[in-house]
Symmetry: C2
Subunit: 111 residues, 2 copies
DNA sequence: CCGTTATTTAACTAATACGTTAAATATGCA
DNA sequence: TGCATATTTAACGTATTAGTTAAATAACGG
């Protein structure tokens, strides 16, 4: 994975464990132990996934006593959606319908 | 990167060279040589990036004489956008405005 | 058939990713 | 202080990634 921000974000999203962690965090903040519970991997492994997510800006973390709670951060998700926008014309259903319509119009010009 | 489809897609998007290739393909089909031209990496390297993109379903390829042309494929882009949808409430501006509005309403109940 | 052009495969290297277990660190509390 | 709990860091193994150069393959055109 490269070092630019978009690459870090996509790279972070490329792992199913990390996506599951994000899904969990979409329901509310959680500690490392809570996040680790559903997985069969060790705590240090989860700790590192969190570090990757944090480096991508997808989560922020705060300490309260011996617990470190993670919370989902909006900005990178917004960034990805904006990135996808420039490809929307390739898949947007209504636009495809428009294109088909235009093709039909062209066909009408032909014999 | 894991082996499920979404991971393959995000993994493919995690490389800036591959994103640049997709951007180029959004302007139309292109051969391997054409795609390689803007980059300072070797042809085999580009060939492999194309294989990664193809495995993710982000491009399809056809052969015509000795040229292999690549074209952008819509489905995975749609899939990513749909995936992002479930996080939209975390960053959608208008929703934030709604939330602020609700907070204001709550504040009005207070002294 | 031969030479040229386009592309891929093979073989290799270096860096990164992801997991492990063991040890270190941080904090709360008796 | 000292133990318990939560989390991170260290040290390590292995797989994957991304690049290289050299050789192989594919298809055209004389």
């Amino acid at each position: 994975m490269a070092t630019d921000r978009l690459s870090r974000i996509f790279g972070a999203l490329a792992d199913p464990t990390r996506r599951a962690i994000l899904a969990r965090l979409s329901e509310g903040e959680a500690t490392v132990n809570e996040l680790a519970k559903p997985f069969s991997i060790s705590l240090p492994a989860v700790s590192r996934h969190l570090k990757v997510l944090e480096a991508a800006g997808l989560i922020s973390r705060s300490r309260s006593a011996q617990w470190r709670t993670s919370r989902l951060e909006a900005a990178p998700l917004r960034e990805v959606t904006f990135y996808m926008e420039k490809y929307r014309r390739f898949w947007d259903e209504s636009l495809n319908r428009l294109e088909q319509h235009l093709e039909l119009l062209q066909d009408e010009d032909k014999p």
